[in-house]
Subunit: 221 residues, 2 copies
């Protein structure tokens, strides 16, 4: 049995869950309040972060390392193309969302509003929230620009880049922070990925004390 | 000809330079004052960050994507092991340094003291510097703990994980922020990696207005 130590609104955990589901790997989810720094959890991952995946007798951490491991050990269906240049484009975009988008948007909106309350780390920083609201517009426009030229974010095939992006956007959609009217192209892309069977678990998520927005699980939003 | 748009004290650029040199790929370095957001540079990388590598008619960005591309297209010498579990351990540690260590140490010391001055972004934040000085101790201890069990950081062979770590530590060593007396094991590891031919370019770096500490290029520090 595969075990995933996770937090429901972590985009990094959601990316791993989407990859597992797309590859039809059954997983048991273990809610991990990582901010409590439980010694048993820290023994599994000294970085003190989720996701942590336990599989094949191994304990793996770092969402990039986990996704590459899954791609190497369960290659079908492929979430990375075969050509090095195309793989680089997928990885560039995974980095774009997990680093830049996370820093400029997810951490400024979801973390300020939800994680801070859950972890009792204080009140949202108004300037950070404002910066996040502004930055997401640029990112939606950039996604729209990419999707005007490509069927999926990194090219003609669905890849890890789409799951990385959808993982972040789904967390923001949970709290109602995505203005889907901004780009029809991006909304169509999200509707397509949201209707995949792999997305079902994510749409069923409920974080105690934070109900999702009514349209969150609606496939026709 | 391979071109690398870089900034001398960027640990991400240094990691790519080390990988290029280890694989004996000649590269022409282009100094890129990325903070000036030159439109020509932004056209190459919308993220506005270095490194950007131009090779094989491609323009690649994101240091992880670049290093994986180089590993796939120039597999010899290998900087990733063959086994998926061992590859996951290398990638976990690359993530450790490029994400956690960068956030807790490099950005708090090098960026506060050097980049802020260069980019005219204000004065160093004393609380950040203090946090960085404290955090590097934990990281040196963690590296020492790993190196007590392994020849190199991720196992018995030199990998991308060692270059990621050395890239960050070399930036901090430039500004004199590494207490090498803290761990003999870590110092021995750094002496070993520092004496590799691949490291020569990095030891010759000079950032205008910021001279390196006298021991910086000394192989017997």
């Amino acid at each position: 049995m595969i075990l995933l130590h996770h937090f429901a609104l972590s985009p990094f955990c959601r990316k791993v869950r989407l990859v597992l589901a797309e590859k039809k790997l059954e997983v048991e989810l273990v809610d991990e309040p990582y901010w409590e720094r439980d010694p048993e959890f820290l023994r599994r991952n000294a970085a003190g972060k989720v996701p942590v995946l336990r599989t094949d007798g191994l304990t793996l951490s770092d969402s990039t390392a986990i996704c590459e491991y899954l791609e190497e050990t369960v290659p079908d269906p492929a979430l990375l193309p075969k050509e090095p240049a195309e793989r680089a484009e997928v990885r560039r975009l995974v980095g774009w969302f997990d680093d830049k988008f996370h820093h400029e948007v997810t951490s400024k909106l979801v973390y300020e509003r939800v994680n801070k309350k859950l972890t009792r780390a204080g009140y949202p920083d108004g300037a950070a929230v404002k910066a996040g609201v502004k930055a997401i517009k640029f990112h939606l426009d950039y996604m729209g620009w990419l999707l005007d030229q490509r069927r999926w974010l990194a090219g003609d095939a669905l890849t890890l880049a789409d799951f990385a992006a959808a993982a972040h956007l789904s967390c923001l959609d949970y709290s109602g922070d995505v203005d889907w009217a901004r780009s029809e192209t991006v909304r169509d892309w999200y509707a397509k990925i949201k209707s995949r069977p792999a997305f079902r678990g994510i749409l069923a998520d409920q974080v105690p004390g934070f109900r999702p927005k009514p349209h969150y699980a609606d496939l026709d939003f």
